[in-house]
């Protein structure tokens, strides 16, 4: 199973990130910016990623297993469903280094995403309100 994951992931670069990481945020940022994690996240649905995670967590923890576990968690951070959020929130129960911190970082990023969406919703609402009033403040001239 690790070999399958290794084939999808840019393992050399992820290993370097893991070995050089001094803080969980560094690990999170660099793993999340790694294209192969996004590919992993797009290749599998949440439940499949979680299934892989549960299989891996039972294995003895060498560096390869840890990198795969972090990769799966960060891949899950791209998913937005309720069960995944719950899973991320409860990460610290697995007693893996930085899982607690990663959980906090990912949850706060979910909140930020949410705020951005709400902000965007209000901006859209304002735009359409202005549009219905025939405002010309926007760069798009309406009812001119």
């Amino acid at each position: 199973m690790i070999e399958d994951l290794k084939n999808i992931l840019d393992f050399i670069s992820l290993k370097e990130t893991y070995l050089f990481a001094n803080t969980p945020r560094y690990l999170y940022k660099n793993f999340r910016n790694n294209q192969s994690i996004l590919i992993l996240s797009e290749k599998f649905v949440s439940s499949e990623l979680k299934k892989l995670f549960y299989k891996l967590i039972k294995q003895p923890r060498n560096i390869d297993v840890r990198i795969c576990l972090y990769s799966l968690v960060i891949a899950l951070s791209f998913k937005q469903d309720y069960n995944t959020r719950l899973f991320i929130k409860n990460l610290n129960k697995f007693k893996v280094e930085w899982f607690k911190e990663l959980s906090e970082i990912i949850i706060s990023s979910f909140i930020m995403d949410q705020n951005e969406k709400i902000d965007m919703k209000f901006r859209m609402k304002d735009y359409f309100d202005d549009k219905s009033k025939g405002s010309t403040n926007s760069h798009i001239t309406v009812n001119a």
């Binding site: 893991y18 070995l19 001094n22 945020r25 060498n62």
Partner: protein
């Protein structure tokens, strides 16, 4: 007592015993080892010593040797302490929380030093664009005349302590700040 209930209790006891005698799950739970580290103002600093490396893990570092040829290794790889542990906890443990570093900077009364005035013994903090202190090191030489960069001794995560030019490392070097304790 019904047979079913007896069986349920029996299974529960078996399950508890297997856990007690060290099921895989229990054995794998990592003991988080924290030691007492305090600031000058006696505020506790959250820290954690990493797990020791087995032979398989050690072998993973071999590939790294040729990647950073301009940096001089000065220790073997160890996860016991990280860069912040080297700078602020005398190589005894790892500190990975940026807020704890900020607490030390404030409590220990570090002041920022301009690059031109940097001296051996000062420290350097590497900030990421989102404010995370992703790396730190000890300055070991004055900035050189050509590149105006000091040499730094720092620990690269779970890897080795390295002596390197301040900007030759795998961290964000666009936001480096130097600090010194003056009193």
């Amino acid at each position: 007592m019904s047979l079913f209930l007896k069986l349920k209790i029996f299974l529960k006891i078996i399950k508890e015993k297997s856990n007690f005698f060290g099921s895989d799950q229990i054995r794998r739970i990592r003991k988080i080892k924290e030691i007492i580290v305090q600031t000058r103002e006696a505020n506790d600093i959250e820290n954690c010593q990493g797990d020791s490396l087995n032979a398989f893990d050690q072998a993973q570092f071999i590939d790294m040797r040729n990647r950073f040829t301009l940096a001089i290794p000065r220790s073997n790889p160890t996860p016991i302490y990280n860069c912040h542990g080297l700078v602020f906890a005398s190589r005894r443990t790892g500190i990975s929380n940026t807020e704890e570093i900020q607490k030390i900077i404030k409590d220990d009364k570090y002041i920022e030093v301009e690059l031109n005035n940097v001296l051996p013994g000062d420290i350097v903090l590497y900030y990421s664009l989102d404010g995370d202190i992703e790396h730190s090191g000890l300055v070991v030489s004055k900035p050189d005349r050509d590149l105006h960069l000091p040499f730094v001794c720092s620990k690269w995560g779970k890897y080795r302590e390295m002596v390197h030019s301040a900007t030759f490392c795998p961290y964000n070097v666009s936001l480096m700040r130097y600090y010194r304790i003056k009193e």
